[in-house]
Amino acid sequence: MKICITAQGDQLTAEMDPRFGRCQYFLIVDTKSGDCEAVANPYLEGTGGVGVQAGQLMAEKKVEVVLTGQIGPNAFGTLQAGGIQVITGLTGKVSEALEKFKRGGLKPDQGPSASSKSGMRGF
């Protein structure tokens, strides 16, 4: 199963990035093989519609679950249509989030957790 974690760096030791569409890196981990692919977010500087594009990228990469801090309505809609589960509210290191997910018990979101454009604000 492929899981994507939004990160501030390209390693599993990196801190998570709280934003989905405007995160620094998408770390895509194959839970079976343990392989990790780091994709530098190509939409980081986009003016609009980045959530849609990032959601599309997840579908193309055959990701099944996204772990992130917050997610906007367009990204959530795209992921949902692609049958991809979203779990928000995670913080700390990527590896910690991954362990938490593997232990189970994390509940997938039923709707977006942030408003449009909120990823554009500094934090």
Partner: protein, 281 residues
């Protein structure tokens, strides 16, 4: 003639200037292009005669014909479409109605339909013609509605446009095609910062501009210094007075409540006419 009243910063007094100028000059019409929160009608209290809904075109995807090839999504410059393995999603608020998706769909699976974004109202107050647009709540596509308001520009009248604040698409759309742009500001750091941004936009658009400094006895000299440096004429200064604020809060027109400001508004209009004529020459 078209004169637009704009500003980088909000709340500097655009509507006060626009509404009072419209009242002062003969054969005028006021177009309130601040379609997200129009307020000129609070002061002018026009009698509205007609109201018309405004629509934009958005794509409709026939999924029985769609092969999910992704061509529409790749061509959409605004990322309003997401093509997933067995579903196409449209994000109507991102769509700019360019028509590229329907034109280039290899399966002819995309048609277009109307989406309502707001309405335009037309009315009058005595001799003064009044037009305003109101964008539906939650809607982000202001420019198409502004274009609709501006379709009522009348070359036989003096057109005063009340622009939305800021320097984004909706401001550019409002100012476009003006003979003159009046930038209303205040002598505060916010006022100066946003005046600088607005000046850049107006210079880029090659529209002659002048400045009105509202609440001129507050703050610092920095706005005046900036105008001098950039050779932008300061056409009028309005003092910070409790009575002006009170009249505004009551929805009263400054010139009706305090006719002593009439001469300075008259002078402002003469200067605008002169500069606009210079700009056209």
């Amino acid at each position: 003639m078209i004169v637009t009243i704009a500003s980088g910063k909000g709340g500097t007094g655009k509507t006060t200037i626009a509404a009072n100028l419209a009242l002062l000059i003969s054969n005028a019409q006021l177009l309130d292009c601040d379609v997200e929160e129009p307020n000129a009608h609070f002061f002018l209290k026009p009698e509205i005669k007609t109201s018309r809904k405004v629509f934009v075109r958005v794509p409709v995807i026939d999924e029985s014909k769609c092969t999910f090839c992704g061509r529409c999504q790749k061509l959409c410059a605004f990322h309003a479409l997401a093509v997933l393995p067995s579903k196409v999603l449209l994000f109507p608020e991102l769509c700019h109605s360019c028509g590229v998706c329907s034109h280039f769909c290899p399966e002819h699976a995309i048609s277009e339909e109307d989406r309502e974004i707001g309405f335009v109202e037309i009315g009058s107050r005595g001799q003064l013609q009044f037009i305003r647009g109101l964008l539906n709540v939650g809607e982000s596509m202001a420019p198409p509605l502004i274009r609709e308001v501006k379709s009522y520009l009348n070359p036989t009248r003096t057109n005063i446009i009340d622009a939305p604040p800021g320097t984004a698409c909706s401001m550019v759309e409002s100012v476009r095609g003006s003979d003159y742009c009046l930038l209303v500001t205040e002598p505060t750091p916010f006022g100066l910062n946003d005046l600088k941004l607005a000046t850049k936009v107006i210079t880029e658009m090659k529209i002659p501009a002048g400045v009105v400094i509202n609440r001129c006895d507050l703050g610092t000299e920095d706005v005046r210094k900036f105008c001098e440096q950039e050779s932008i004429p300061v056409l009028m200064e309005i003092p910070f007075r409790r009575e002006i604020a009170a009249a505004y809060a009551q929805g009263d027109l400054l010139l009706e409540k305090m006719p002593e400001y009439r001469p300075s508004f008259k002078k402002l209009w003469e200067r605008i006419e002169n500069f606009a004529a210079e700009g056209a020459a």
